[in-house]
Homo-oligomer: 242 residues x 2
C-alpha cells in the first residue's frame, strides 16, 4: 500500500472517529450500551482487536465505560461515579461531603465580547446566565456564575434548576442532550467582594479561589463558561499531578 506519512492515521484511529461520529449523532444515548466489539468489528470490517484499541482510547478519555461481562457503555454524568468529576473541592478532613446546589438566579442576556469569544458564538447572540450557590451540608462553599449558549439552553429557567435534585451536568445531559466531555480551568486567588462575601457568610476581602472554567462537548465545542468563587478556609482544591 502507498501509505504517505503526512496524512497517515492508523486504522484504529479511523474506527475511533467513526464511533465518535455515532456518539455525536446520538446513535447511542448516555448510560446505554454500545454494540459489542465483535458487532462493531463486523460493521467496520476490521478485526475485533482493532475495535478494542479504539475503544481503549475512548475509555481512557472517559467517553466510554467498559464493564466486563456486560458490555461497553456511553459515559454519563448521571452515573454516580462520574457525577462530580469536575468538582475538585474537598473538606480538610477528606470526608465525602453532602452537596447541595441552590440556584439563585437565571436570566436571559446577550453575549458580550468575551462571552462570544469563549463560547464561539456571535456577539449579541442570546445566552443564559445562571447564578448558584453550592453548599456542603449546611456550609456555603462556592458561588458560581454560569454562561450558556441560549440556542442550546432554550427552556432553562430557575424553576427547572430548582426542581432538579442532581448535578447540573446531568441536567444538561438529560434535558438538553448535551454531554460535557472535558474542561479547562484557570485558577487565581482573589479577594471576596461584598455581595459574594455575604452569600458565603465570610468577611469582605476574604481570599477566595477564582476558578474560571470552559467546558467542552464532543468535537471540542465550548458550551459552558463558568466562574466559581471557592471558599477555602475549611476546604481545599485537590489536584493530582502525573
Amino acid at each position: 500500500m502507498a501509505q504517505e506519512s503526512p496524512t497517515f492515521s492508523p486504522l484504529y484511529r479511523q474506527i475511533k472517529s467513526l464511533i465518535l461520529q455515532a456518539l455525536e449523532a446520538g446513535e447511542w444515548r448516555p448510560g446505554q450500551a454500545i454494540p459489542s466489539e465483535q458487532e462493531l468489528a463486523v460493521r467496520f470490517s476490521v478485526s475485533q482487536g482493532t475495535v478494542r484499541k479504539a475503544i481503549d482510547e475512548m475509555a481512557a478519555e472517559n467517553l466510554l465505560v467498559r464493564k466486563q461481562g456486560k458490555g461497553t457503555f456511553v459515559a454519563s454524568h448521571s452515573d454516580p461515579r462520574a457525577m462530580f468529576r469536575f468538582l475538585r473541592l474537598v473538606p480538610d478532613d477528606d470526608s465525602i461531603p453532602q452537596r447541595e446546589s441552590i440556584p439563585l438566579e437565571c436570566w436571559r442576556a446577550k453575549a458580550g465580547h468575551e462571552a462570544s469569544r469563549i463560547l464561539a458564538i456571535e456577539p449579541g447572540a442570546p445566552i443564559m446566565i445562571v447564578r448558584r450557590l453550592l453548599r456542603f451540608a449546611t456550609t456555603p462553599v462556592v458561588v458560581d456564575e454560569i454562561y450558556l449558549p441560549g440556542e442550546i439552553f432554550q427552556g432553562l429557567t430557575l424553576e427547572v434548576l430548582q426542581s432538579w435534585r442532581s448535578s447540573l451536568y446531568s441536567l444538561f445531559e438529560s434535558r438538553f442532550g448535551l454531554r460535557m466531555i472535558r474542561a479547562d480551568e484557570k485558577i487565581r486567588a482573589v479577594a471576596a467582594d461584598k455581595a459574594t462575601a455575604e452569600i458565603l457568610e465570610v468577611p469582605e476581602a476574604t481570599p477566595l479561589l477564582s476558578v474560571e472554567r470552559v467546558t467542552y462537548t464532543y468535537g471540542d465545542r465550548p458550551v459552558e463558561w463558568r466562574r466559581g468563587l471557592y471558599l477555602t478556609e475549611a476546604h481545599y482544591y485537590h489536584n493530582e499531578l502525573n
Copy 2:
C-alpha cells in the same frame, strides 16, 4: 468454578511489577534506554505483546517514554519536555515564560510533627528546608518552602542549589538519584504576609494561591513536601479536567 480471583493478576501486570522493580533498583538510569520489547519478552518468558501492554501502562504513567525507531527510555526530569510537568502557572497571555529559580535559604532542621507524618519519617529525624523564589523573566511569581528528608539529601547546600541551572527535580534526580513520579496538591487562597509580600513585590494581604504539594517517588514513597505561594495577578494556575 474454582474462583481464585482475590489474588488474580494478569501476566502483563506481573511483568509491569518486574520492570518497576528493575527501575527502582536503578538497573537503568533516567534518560537511558531499557532493553527492547523482544529482549524483555525473552527475559521474562512471555510474548512480546504482553511486554508491550506492560510498557503501555508505564508510558501512560510517565514512567517510561517510547520513541519509535529508537527504543523505550526511562523518563527523566532532565528531558526538556517533562521539565516543568509539575509547574502549572501560566502567564495570562499564554506565552512560554523564561523561568529562573533563585535559592534564598537552605538549612538543616529536625522533623516536626507534621513533617514527619507527611514524609513518613521519625519525628526529630533530620530534614532539609529550602526557600526559593521563582521568577518569570524579571517578574517574581512564586515563593516556595520545601521540606526534604535529610537522609536522602545529605550534601544539599545553598551553593549546590545556586550552581544548578536547571529544574530542582532534575537536580534531585542527577545529584541524589531520586526520581519524582507523581504529586498531590492542595490549593487554597490566602492573604500574603508581610515577608512574602515583600519578596513578591506586592502589597501585604494581596490574595495568593497557596499550593501545598507532596511529591512521591517509586513505590508511592513521599520524598518532598512543599508549599508554594503563587502570585496570580498576571498569571493563572492551569488545570485540565478530563
